[in-house]
């Protein structure tokens, strides 16, 4: 085995180690070294010089699956929080949530960006309506149309999530189905809240409860990591919900909601930027 690094093997190891990132750094480093040695040895003994690396990697198997299997084996020891400091526990919880929330499909990212613009755009329109636009004017219909499109693209995202279930896609069935259900419910509770702030509350609460179904599904996952992530998400979600309720109460009591909704449009842009790590309409860079 020579000391030259092969980009394909290193890429394979990177992918495998992505699945291990919640494990202690020394475990990750040792695993990478050990499997790297195996792969370089395997590549060195291949007969076909043109396909040395490809056949070695094929012989070793899918990097994500190998990484997941290894992570599961280490998991029982790795996700025990009892001996950790508060900071280490929070770090571990963050890692668990991150690992249990695989990145959305690229088209779902675009859909989420579009939804944010539509939702906050509609909120701005209805905020302006409350501030003086004529009732049932063209702006109102534009707002309703925006919310309709919001719901439709949200359902599309739910269908994509459903299709990501194994064996066709990268998600466990329970997670994909519960994710799809959550996305479908979320497609309706936003518009329902905006369009029917008085009578729609019951519908909103029902749909919001549906978005919690994924958490209940995940609660029955056998893995300690999944349970940790689900419990923590529900606790954080509860705290965030209470904060929202407080802000809404203060805003309605002192100023009235409509006058504040204009502020939500820039918030939509910021959220979108955070989601994509760059603006949705950023100019694409062309590779040299």
């Amino acid at each position: 085995m020579n000391n030259e690094r092969n980009p394909q093997i290193e890429q394979y190891l990177d992918r495998l180690c992505e699945e291990l990132k919640a494990l202690p750094p020394e475990v990750q480093a040792e695993t990478r070294t050990e499997i790297g040695q195996h792969l370089y040895s395997l590549a060195a003994m291949q007969r076909d010089p043109k396909r040395i690396v490809e056949s070695a990697l094929r012989q070793f198997g899918d990097p994500a699956r190998v990484g997941q299997a290894l992570a599961r084996e280490w998991e029982e020891d790795a996700w025990d929080l009892s001996q950790l400091s508060l900071r280490e526990r929070l770090e571990k919880i963050r890692a668990a949530i991150e690992l249990e929330s695989p990145p959305p499909h690229p088209s779902q990212r675009i859909i989420m960006g579009v939804q944010l613009y539509l939702l906050f755009g509609a909120l701005s329109i209805f905020g302006a309506h409350g501030a003086g636009l004529p009732p049932h004017g063209e702006w109102t219909w534009l707002g309703i149309a925006a919310l309709g499109v919001y719901a439709v693209v949200g359902l599309t995202s739910a269908v994509i999530e459903w299709q990501r279930a194994e064996p066709r896609g990268p998600l466990r069935k329970s997670r994909a189905y519960s994710g799809a259900l959550g996305r479908a419910a979320a497609s309706f509770w936003g518009p329902a809240l905006i369009l029917s702030p008085q009578q729609g509350h019951n519908v909103v609460f029902l749909l919001f409860a549906l978005t919690l179904v994924p958490a209940v599904f995940n609660r029955f996952e056998p893995s300690r990591r999944a349970r940790l992530a689900t419990d923590s998400t529900m606790i954080f979600g509860g705290i965030l919900g209470m904060m929202f309720a407080l802000v809404a109460f203060v805003s309605i009591y002192f100023t009235g909601v409509p006058s504040l909704t204009w502020l939500l449009f820039p918030l939509g842009y910021i959220a979108n930027r955070w989601l994509h790590k760059k603006p949705l309409l950023a100019r694409r860079r062309v590779a040299p």
């Binding site: 695993t31 499997i35 070793f60 198997g61 990097p63 299997a69 280490w74």
Partner: protein
């Protein structure tokens, strides 16, 4: 006979190979191939989760060893508990083999 037939027996094959002496992961894979005349091959990535599982059960011991030439390698050694587990699995396998021979032999005649 390829992966499917060997599935589920990887742990037993690893224990059997390590019974002859300590080895690293790559050498375990090659030894399984050699002993089976290349009839048994598996996706080699499976080896490491299985080795980790055996290590957790206390059936193998993993240690990094500095080599006389080249970098340190992780070497797996069969423990006493591993030897006991191998004896049990070998016994169970022989019983299954006998039963299958009886069934298939009967069909052949």
């Amino acid at each position: 006979m390829k992966t499917e037939s060997a599935k589920g027996h990887t742990a037993t094959m690893i224990l059997a190979v390590l019974d002859s002496g300590p080895l690293h992961g790559y050498a375990i894979a090659r030894e399984i191939e050699r002993r089976s005349d290349n009839l048994l091959t598996c996706q080699e990535g499976i080896l490491y989760p299985t080795l980790r599982s055996l290590e957790r059960e206390g059936l193998v011991l993993a240690q990094w060893e500095i080599q006389s030439s080249g970098p340190a390698r992780k070497i797996y050694t069969l423990t006493e508990a591993g030897k006991g587990a191998l004896a049990e699995r070998t016994q169970a396998w022989r019983q299954l083999q006998q039963a299958m021979t009886g069934i298939l032999g009967g069909l052949a005649s």
